[in-house]
Amino acid sequence: MGDLMSVNSKVDTTKGLLEVPGLDVASQFAWKIRLLRINDKSLALASLSGWERNANDEYRKISKVMRIVGTSNLPPRRPHVGKSDKYDVYEMIGDNARLLFFYDKTARVVVCTNSYEKNSSTDQGTAFGLCERLRQEYVKWPPQQRIP
């Protein structure tokens, strides 16, 4: 019991990984697709929810790319996935919507972090910078925090 308590005390329950609601397991057999949650909020989940509600074509395209990423051992190429020139982070490409992610090769997880939209106030460099910074934070998490 004492051991369990000490393990649990190291886990910050306000951050972790979320499943993509309704995404079939068969669409994730190469990589599990997960959404990064910090402070009980998820930028990626909020974006997916927003696209589903207000931009269904974008949601459909990002969902398609999500399935391609989840079933491809190697990172897919353009026009579906782009890679940052500067960092080891990627983007799923819709029409204007972009969902940024990185690979956790140890846990076989694709971690979706944040998003941006072309022609919006956030540019690609800023979004990739945030994704990279989130990746750096994520790798510092204890393993039990990274359970997909």
Binding site: V20, A26, I38, S49, E52, K64, T126, G129, L134
Partner: protein
């Protein structure tokens, strides 16, 4: 809050950006789950996914081979524009013959399997060793090995062996093929 592109944000800035994210309600989650299930039951969407995956595999194979689209088109007896359209997914309603020929000229084979929802198709290489058949999950590099496909479920052993992401060809799991 704005984050400068040339400067990676501080932890404090990251936390603020998450705090500012809109809350997602249970109703939103239910709607998202429902939307994903509907997509998986939409044959037009499933076709889009399959077409994109085939084109992605052909692009990857061409890149790995180092051959140009012009050279591939010449060997295949097609125009460069045709090959470009096929690889960039601008050519739709192509036939099984088309992708079989494209794969053939890239030194690959196409295997089409019909399976139940929730199952996945795993590509394995097969070899006859010491009087018995042994199989291994196809190594990611190099492409172009003779392959067969088998039905499997996501929780099965075949899928688990696929997790040998970086294993070289010789280290792949070896075990008897199912009868």
């Amino acid at each position: 809050m704005s984050i400068q592109p040339d400067k990676e944000p501080s932890l404090d800035e990251i936390l603020k950006s998450f705090d500012a994210a809109p809350a997602v309600t249970d109703a939103d989650l239910m709607r998202l789950a429902d939307a994903n299930r509907k997509l998986d039951e939409d044959p037009a969407f499933l076709t889009e996914v399959q077409e994109a995956m085939v084109a992605n595999q052909l692009r990857a194979a061409l890149e790995t081979s180092g051959e140009s689209q012009v050279s591939l088109a010449k060997r295949w007896g097609k125009t460069r524009q045709y090959v470009s359209k096929l690889l960039s997914e601008k050519l739709t309603n192509y036939t099984l013959e088309t992708i079989t020929y494209a794969a053939y000229y890239l030194g690959l084979r196409v295997s089409v399997k019909v399976h139940r929802p929730g199952e996945v198709v795993v590509v394995k290489s097969a070899a006859r060793i010491a009087g018995g058949y042994y199989s291994s999950v196809r190594p990611l590099k190099p492409l172009g090995l003779p392959t067969t496909a088998t039905l499997s479920t996501p929780s099965s052993f075949e899928c688990l062996t696929l997790l040998n992401y970086d294993s070289p060809a010789g280290d792949a799991e070896k075990r008897p093929l199912a009868a």
